[in-house]
Amino acid sequence: MVVKHIPGKNAGHIMLYALSTCGWCAKTKKLLDDLAVEYYYEYVDHLQGEEKERVMREVEKWNPNCSFPTLVIDNETCIIGYRENDIRKALHL
């Protein structure tokens, strides 16, 4: 499984760690789609074994609770949960 890339306008490097079954993750993804920004995402529940462990360690670095959605912007800012205003602010949109 590879990280998926959604093309769009550049608002920084945006990485979304999400679950395919989660309503708040879906809302976060839809917000990024509506903002038409370029982003990367990974459905962690689609991963298995070592790959899942590796990605979970990545998420844990930003969010020790390992909850979803976890959005990392420019390898610098982390937004946990669906927080529309915080996301817009962080992306300057």
Binding site: L19, S20, C22, G23, W24, C25, D45, F68, G81
Partner: protein, 167 residues
């Protein structure tokens, strides 16, 4: 895995809604959002063999995931504090009536390392002599005095394995 059909989603949604209302709980009135979560529950049931919370990453090991099988152990305290459970399948009456808005809430489930520590079973902390053991449903707090917990909690429909010895 075959695609989950709309009729499967509608059927489970209807059942969860009836059970919730009968026990004083409420499903999120945003039907599209809620049906998305119900679909997630069906996907998780197929994937893991139990209805793990759609907004949490299940381990696939049932014993480790018991607390996040829907309805999860954290639903009732989250309904009190935020008017919604973590995934927002269930909401409080105030939210249902449109008197309170909900959003994404913080995760109440302890992080993986702390969970491991807590798994050392909590023992009943009393020397009180009772003629029968008392069992507590970890989901809704229902108590009953009998030799074994019931197969299904009569209040919240959680299964037998969600009960703990209380007295």
């Amino acid at each position: 895995m075959t695609e989950v059909t709309q009729s499967e989603v509608d059927r489970l949604y209807g059942r969860l809604n009836r059970e919730a209302e009968a026990a004083g709980y409420h499903l999120n009135p945003d039907a599209d959002f809620t049906k998305g979560l119900v679909k997630g529950l069906i996907i998780n049931e197929r994937r893991y063999g139990y209805r793990a919370c759609p907004c949490r990453l299940a381990s696939g090991i049932k014993e480790e995931d018991l607390d996040i099988i829907c309805p999860c152990d954290y639903r009732d305290p989250d309904l009190i504090d935020y008017g919604t459970c973590y995934c927002a399948l269930y909401v409080s009456e105030a939210v249902l009536k449109g008197e309170k808005e909900i959003g994404s809430i913080p995760e109440r489930r302890p992080p993986p390392k702390e969970r491991k520590k807590q798994q050392a079973k909590i023992q009943p902390s009393t020397s009180l002599q009772v003629p029968l053991p008392v069992w507590r449903c970890r989901v809704c707090g229902y108590l009953c005095a009998r030799d074994q917990p019931p197969e299904v909690c009569p209040i919240c429909k959680a299964k037998k394995e969600r009960f703990e010895r209380f007295l």
